[in-house]
């Protein structure tokens, strides 16, 4: 039933390599990889929508809901199971998206971008002024258990890494299917000519709505794993510059392959680790120039380098 295509086999192999390497890599590196993969899931949320022509400058909204659900579930609802907490984040996020999506799907282009930004800033504004949620400092996430098992200290980090890899791998396969499906094709069609899609008897709005919910769900997974890994959440998660970073990584990788956001996110995280040390005040500037270079020279993202080489070789 589940026959894997070439991309999916590669995804599984990469996931296995990552899992095996968990025991070899230094702790700081697995930590960075965990955060990068979690972030990549949010970027996938941006990419899903980008493929249909919408740029979300507010994906941080769902990233934040995912993260805060984990934190608040532990602090206020006394839930300590990681799986339940992640599920809680996804449910909360998709629930919010189900309502906001009705509004959002009426907008395109810069209006979609601006409204998504505004909505995430609303959440930011609410959290910043809320003392119970630690205001601008955020708060710490309680220790979690995994189906009753509670590993200690560094082991917990490792478990979270393993979980992140597995979940990210699973989501990647699902996204790959989606991308190559009939509906995936229609998504690109919406980006290119929405009116034609409508005159083929399809509802672009319904498709965009489904994307919005799906994107919200996986962004929340990303936020939840970020919260679990760092043990902390703060309102920055919903601030618009966080969302800007997701857009940046999405453009860096490009939208043409499901692996692109993962590679771009890992690259981004590694480069940042060094850049922040070497040149703390020019990191953003480097990002800016890279972004301009991508727009001008590689409009389909870094992935086009890989794809281009392959085509030249074939």
């Amino acid at each position: 039933m589940l026959k894997l295509d070439k991309t999916e086999i590669w995804l599984v192999v990469s996931a296995l390599v990552l899992l095996a390497s968990a025991f070899l890599l230094p702790n700081w590196l697995t930590f960075i990889l965990t955060l990068a993969l979690a972030k990549a899931l949010v970027v996938q949320g941006v990419v899903i929508q980008m493929r249909a022509g919408l740029v979300s400058f507010g994906q941080g909204l769902f990233f934040c809901i995912g993260g805060y659900s984990v934190g608040m579930g532990g602090a206020f609802l006394n839930i300590h199971d990681a799986f339940v907490l992640v599920a809680l984040g996804v449910a909360a996020s998709v629930g919010v998206a189900a309502i906001l999506g009705l509004l959002m799907t009426r907008y395109r282009d810069i209006f979609f971008a601006m409204l998504s930004l505004a909505l995430s800033m609303i959440l930011y504004g609410l959290i910043v002024k809320n003392q119970a949620l630690g205001s601008t400092d955020g708060f710490n996430v309680h220790d979690v258990s995994f189906l009753g098992w509670m590993p200690a200290g560094e082991d917990q980090k490792l478990v979270i890494f393993v979980l992140t890899v597995i979940v990210a791998g699973g989501i990647a396969i699902a996204l790959n299917r989606y991308m190559k499906s009939g509906l995936g094709g229609v998504n690109e069609a919406i980006k290119e000519n929405e009116i034609r899609v409508e005159f083929l008897g399809l509802s672009p709005r319904w498709i965009l709505y489904a994307n919005y919910l799906f994107a919200a769900g996986i962004s929340a997974v990303g936020g939840a794993f970020t919260a679990l890994a760092t043990g902390h959440v703060d309102p920055e998660m919903a601030f618009w510059t966080t969302s800007g970073e997701f857009v940046f990584i999405a453009l860096l990788g490009g939208t043409s392959h499901v692996a692109a956001p993962f590679i771009a996110a890992v690259l981004f995280a590694l480069v940042r680790t060094y850049a922040l040390e070497l040149a703390p005040h020019s990191w953003q500037m480097i990002l800016g120039f890279v972004l301009l270079a991508i727009i001008v020279f590689l409009p389909k993202g870094l992935w086009s380098l890989v794809a281009g080489k392959r085509r030249a070789a074939a």
């Binding site: 299917r177 989606y178 190559k180 499906s181 009939g182 509906l183 995936g184 094709g185 229609v186 690109e188 069609a189 290119e192 000519n193 009116i195 034609r196 899609v197 409508e198 005159f199 083929l200 008897g201 399809l202 509802s203 319904w206």
Partner: protein, 261 residues
Amino acid sequence: MSTILETRGLNRSFGAVTAARELNVKIESGEVVGVIGSNGAGKTTFINMVTGYLPPSSGEILFEGKSIVGKSTREIIRNGMTRSFQVAQLFPEMTVLDNLLIALVAAEGPRPSFLGGLRSRSRIARADEILEEFAVQQYRNAIVSAVPQGARKLIDIAMALIGKPRMLLLDEPTSGVSVEEKFPLMDTVMLAVRRHKVTVLFVEHDMEIVERYVSRVLAFYSGEIISDGVPAKVFGDAKVQELVIGHGHGRKTEDKERSAA
């Protein structure tokens, strides 16, 4: 023969301007009806109302006996009436094949699956048949934006026919197409239309095309139908000669495109 489309007392005004006045039309299934009239005569308004793009101010539109007023464009399409466009509406950065595959996906139902692949063997086989039917095989793997105007028009019409409509509205099928291309293009289209047994309503500026391909003509002037009948009768009508053909005939294709844009 049965009536496929009927309008009763259809009116539409934009502010003080009346774009459609008391339109009563009955189209029998299997007819090929040409709609003529100079710019602003109300052709486009008529087509837009019939396709659900524009709601009428008053009046009734019956498609196969059922009212379609207030229905969305999408519902009307799903009910069996599709349209082509004056400027071909395609997915410009995709290949011609992918354009057809998307249309095939859409034809399968209003909620496409996210599981099966887009490029399934059966869909590709079907797309290849269509490419052949419309004589555009050589563009199969070309990106649409690199395909000539005439072929784009054909693909646009092919996509409108994929959903197996019972009625097709052609919006200036030969505008933007060169003089040498226009007859072969119309021959291909009419062949396909007959094979699919589709009733056709088409708007056209080019009187040569209208005369050659339609079985009946509706001549519009200032929001009203001033003549309705076989081409010989309508073109022989003095009023039509003066008000419609005098305006619309003999202008170059480029002019038409510009004034319509």
